[in-house]
Structure formats: structure tokens, C-alpha cells
């Protein structure tokens, strides 16, 4: 099985590998996947006062495509707001990395990781989901 240049590049030069302090109130942590499935991604985002993601870090247990997907995601989210980032779809990731059909699920997991990280930061800020945020506003 051949790996695309982009996947290899992310493996050889991974962007933003590391850890943020999960207890930091400005850090959202999303951990998705399961060892039994062979894929676990941890994505962390640091959000500033304006709601912009100023830093992102990842660690992934998984195949080259999974590593590349999560590495790419950290690049994609930096400098964006939470709302903008929620627009990211696995298709964007899969297209950018030229993932073959059998590896599409890696990009899906990366999309899930973003959602989980956003949900975490929102929960920390008491924003909850969009629906309950509206309710909160209504109250």
C-alpha cells in the first residue's frame, strides 16, 4: 500500500504534536476512538478571549492516515473561531490528504475529535450545546 506524499509529510514532520494543560479553563480537549479499533485521537485547542483558537496540539495512536488527519486538523483550526471550526468536514481533510476510500474513516474520526474538543470548551464555559445556549439566552 502506497502512502501519499502528504500523509508521509505529516508523519515525518508532524505539526503541533504535544499536550496542553487540560485543566486550563481556556483549553478544550477531545479524545475520540478506542484502542480496540486501532485509532485514538486526542485533540486539544486553546481558545482566547475573542473565541479564536490560538493554539492546538494533538497526539494520535493510529495508522499513518490517522496521524496525518489529526496533524492536519491542528493546522486547520489555528486562527479560526469555534463556529468556523465547526464547519470543518471530514471531506476537507480527506481531500487535502488524498486519502483512499479504505482510510476515509480516519478523517471522520478527526472531524469527531474537533467536535469533541469544541464541546469540551463550551461545557467549560457553561455554553453547553447550541440549543441549550439559546435556551440560556432566552432565560
Amino acid at each position: 500500500m502506497a502512502y501519499s506524499d502528504k500523509v508521509l509529510d505529516h508523519y515525518e514532520n508532524p505539526r503541533n504534536v504535544g499536550v496542553l494543560d487540560k485543566d486550563d479553563p481556556n483549553v478544550g480537549t477531545g479524545m475520540v476512538g478506542a484502542p480496540a479499533c486501532g485509532d485514538v485521537m486526542r485533540l486539544q485547542i486553546k481558545v482566547n478571549g475573542e473565541g479564536v483558537i490560538e493554539d492546538a496540539k494533538f497526539k494520535t495512536y493510529g495508522c499513518g492516515s490517522a496521524i496525518a488527519s489529526s496533524s492536519l486538523v491542528t493546522e486547520m483550526v489555528k486562527g479560526k473561531t469555534l463556529d468556523e471550526v465547526a464547519e470543518i468536514r471530514n471531506k476537507h481533510i480527506a481531500d487535502e490528504l488524498a486519502l483512499p476510500p479504505v482510510k476515509i474513516h480516519c478523517s471522520v474520526l478527526a472531524e469527531d475529535a474537533i467536535a469533541a474538543a469544541i464541546a469540551d470548551i463550551r461545557a467549560k464555559r457553561g455554553e453547553g450545546s447550541e440549543a441549550s445556549a439559546d435556551e440560556a439566552v432566552a432565560v
Binding site: 502506497a2 501519499s4 504534536v17 478506542a34 486501532g38 485509532d39 495512536y61 493510529g62 495508522c63 469533541a116
Partner: protein, 424 residues
């Protein structure tokens, strides 16, 4: 267009030379072996007009007689390697076909005595898929679990045998973990109960001694390409005393005593015969050398944290090492070992996304099955290649553990079994 670009990348990485190393280094001898030059030379003599190209079944002229003579010599070489009579060797297209012929052939022939078959979950797909097909035809199959070390559980085995059991199929040497089953003991049990005993011995020649009489084997599947012969040729040993009878699977001319029709490929058969002859004669010295190289490989990595050897340490062929590197996923490890050709029990590397059924049958949890690498060395492996591999493995595992959230959690003392995973 993307795919072609990817293929081009691979072609650019074809073997170059670093000192005396050919990169990438081949450590996948269990998958297949290169044809030994001595074997290739013999084969080349049987192709062109100047060579022995005749149809071995041509009774009326020297072209046929010469081909037949070479084939009978090869038949003897194969028979000698397993302690059989040449008349007990049937040529096939490979071990897969031999497995099909043996199991389907014996099951169908004995259908009036019973329709129950016993085998193990760790068998090669050629055996398992054949059994599944027989299940679709109304046969009943018991798939036994191995012990954690990969060896047959004899208590479970004897308990599984019934009055209507007609065929038992157990492989001699396992392709994934290299464990060697106690075939003689199984043979004795089957002989007593008059059950046809089939052994897939594709991985055995040249690695372990084979004696079909001492082992009380009735049918044995063999192939050439695991022992430095060509792909596309194999054989099935079919016992004459006591006679084992099979229903043929391929018809058309009655070749091989009616058991397998089809014009015999002289060049392939000569190749297999020569490969087996060499394997038999050089087995002792080669095994010693491989054992030393394997020890070297193991010593180079055994001090690493959280690594597990899959399969029994002692009851295994010298060239096989199957290791799980915990907290690192197998396919990413193979990708980072780009200069070493190995294979993995990881789901990602199989089309089905399921981890190795062999490792799972051993009781390995899914993570360790996902994290496994199989290294198999062979005739052309050198010390330099082993040292290079050790260095690359250590480097790759370290780098991937740096990237792994599971490694972090392990370092923090978290028991991963207690974690609630948000699986997708």
C-alpha cells in the same frame, strides 16, 4: 491519476545500496521467498525449444519422456523431504489448492461415515475458507481455540472428536507466529479413531524435519514459494498405506492418478524439486544461522518497555519473530519502518479493518493485535540487515510513542482498560 503518482513514488524507492545493504530490507520471508538462483537455473532449462519443453504426458516421443523423467526426479526430491513414497505426491498449483483438494476431497469421499470436521481458529485462510464452504454444503465444523501460546489444547481437541468426525486439519507451522504443533501426537489420536488427518505444512520444509510415517499424517499440503522455489506450484501428499482416498476437485484427463487433472508444468515442478532438495540438505546449517540471527534481533529489542512476543518462545521456527509494541499502532509502525519490509497483525493492513484473527485467537486483546509486527528472516538475511532493522525499530517505536496519547496515559499510570472510550 493519484494512484499512478503513488506507484511512481514506490518505484523510485526500489533497492538502492547503502554499504552492502539493499534497501528496503526484506524481512517478510513467511509471505514469500525469492527463488534461489540454483533453482532458477534448473527451471530455465525447461522452457525454450533448446530445453525440456515437452508435455510430460506425451508417451510417444523423447520430448515427453525427458520431461517425465525430470518430473519423477522432482517427485522423489519432494517425497524424500517428507519421508514419503514418490507415488504419494500429487502436484497442484500451490498449498491453497492442496488444502482444498485434501479437505473437500476427503470430506466428500467419507460423507457416508460422517460430516463433522475439526480444525483450529489459527489455520490459514485456505483451510478456514474451505471449511466454511463445506459448512454451506451441510457439513459441521468445530474451530478450536489455541492455548495462549498458540499450541493446540489437547483436552479440548479430544473432547471435540465425535463418532461422525471424518477429517481433522491442523497446520504444522503457523505462518503468523511460527509455532510448531505436536503433529505426531495429533496423528496418533486420529489414527486410533480412523479419522483422516490433514496437515498444512506450507511453512515447514527446510525449517523443521518432516516424517509423515512417524507423524501418522494422511494428507499434507506443500508449496514451493515459501522455500525459495517459484510461486504457483505445490503438492499434496496422499498416503497409500493405509490408503487415503479423495474425491478429485479438478477433472480433465485423469493426471496424477486421477486426483488432479491438468498438464504438468515441468519447469515449475523441477523448481519445486530442486528447492526441496536444497532445503532438506541445508536445513541444519541454515537453521543454526537463522537461530543466531533471530537471537540477535531479539536481544536488540528485548529491553524495550511494553513489548510482547506473540506465540511460544521455544516451540517455534527459528526465523519467525512476532512482536507487539504496546501503545503504537502496527500500520504506522510499518510506515515508519519504510526501509524494512515486514508485515503486521494490525487491522489497518488487512482490507477488512479487522485485527489478525490469529493473534486474537491467542487471546491477545485487540490493541496488542493492532500493535504487532511480524519479522521473518531467511536464507539471504545478514547480520548487517538485522542490526539495521533493530536501529530502525527502536527509532520508529520511540517516535510513535512520542505521538501516542495511549503512551502518555500509560506513563501517567492510567489503566487503559478502565477508560470509557468514545468509540466511533
Amino acid at each position: 491519476m493519484e494512484v499512478q503518482e503513488q506507484i511512481k513514488i514506490n518505484r523510485d524507492e526500489r533497492p538502492s545500496t547503502v554499504s552492502s545493504l539493499n534497501i528496503p530490507i526484506y524481512m517478510d520471508y513467511s509471505a514469500t521467498t525469492p527463488v534461489d538462483e540454483r533453482v532458477a537455473a534448473r527451471m530455465a532449462e525447461c522452457l525454450t525449444k533448446q530445453g525440456v519443453f515437452g508435455n510430460p504426458a506425451s508417451r510417444s516421443h523423447p520430448f515427453g519422456w525427458q520431461a517425465e523423467e525430470l518430473i519423477e526426479r522432482a517427485r522423489k526430491d519432494v517425497a524424500d523431504t517428507i519421508g514419503a513414497d514418490p507415488r504419494e505426491i500429487v502436484w497442484t498449483s500451490g498449498a491453497t489448492e492442496s488444502d482444498n483438494l485434501a479437505i473437500k476431497g476427503a470430506a466428500h469421499f467419507n460423507v457416508k461415515r460422517g460430516k463433522h470436521i475439526v480444525t483450529m481458529k489459527t489455520e490459514h485462510k485456505a483451510v478456514l475458507d474451505t471449511c466454511r464452504q463445506l459448512e454451506r454444503e451441510g457439513f459441521e465444523v468445530t474451530y478450536l481455540d489455541p492455548q495462549p501460546n498458540g499450541l493446540l489444547d489437547f483436552e479440548a481437541f479430544e473432547a471435540a472428536l465425535r463418532d461422525d468426525t471424518t477429517v481433522v486439519s491442523i497446520m504444522h507451522v503457523n505462518n503468523e507466529i511460527g509455532v510448531i504443533q505436536d503433529i505426531a501426537r495429533i496423528g496418533a489420536i486420529c489414527r486410533e479413531r480412523k479419522i483422516v488427518f490433514h496437515v498444512d505444512a506450507a511453512q515447514s520444509p527446510g525449517k523443521v524435519p518432516i516424517d509423515v510415517d512417524a507423524m501418522k499424517v494422511d494428507l499434507m499440503a506443500l508449496c514451493a514459494h515459501k522455500v525459495y522455489g517459484p510461486k504457483g506450484i505445490g503438492a499434496l501428499y496422499v498416503r497409500r498405506k493405509p490408503r487415503v482416498r479423495l474425491e478429485a476437485q479438478i477433472h480433465g484427463g485423469g493426471h496424477e492418478r486421477g486426483m488432479r487433472s491438468g498438464t504438468l508444468p515441468t519447469h515449475q515442478i523441477v523448481g519445486m524439486g530442486e528447492a526441496f532438495r536444497i532445503a532438506r540438505e541445508e536445513m541444519g546449517a541454515e537453521n543454526e544461522r537463522l537461530h543466531g540471527l533471530k537471537e540477535r534481533l531479539w536481544k536488540g529489542v528485548e529491553d524495550m518497555e511494553e513489548i510482547y512476543l506473540n506465540g511460544d518462545m521455544d516451540q517455534r521456527v527459528p526465523g519467525n519473530m512476532n512482536i507487539s509494541f504496546n501503545f503504537v499502532e502496527g500500520e504506522s509502525l510499518i510506515m515508519s519502518l519504510k526501509d524494512v519490509a515486514v508485515s503486521s497483525g494490525s487491522a489497518c493492513t488487512s482490507a477488512s479493518l479487522e485485527p489478525s484473527y490469529v493473534l486474537r485467537a491467542l487471546g491477545r486483546n485487540d490493541e496488542l493485535a493492532h500493535s504487532s509486527i511480524r519479522f521473518t528472516i531467511g536464507r539471504f538475511t545478514t547480520e548487517e540487515e538485522v542490526d539495521f532493522t533493530i536501529a530502525k525499530v527502536r527509532e520508529a517505536v520511540e517516535k510513535l510513542r512520542e505521538l501516542s496519547p495511549l503512551w502518555d496515559m500509560h506513563k501517567e499510570g492510567i489503566d487503559l482498560d478502565t477508560v470509557q472510550w468514545a468509540a466511533h
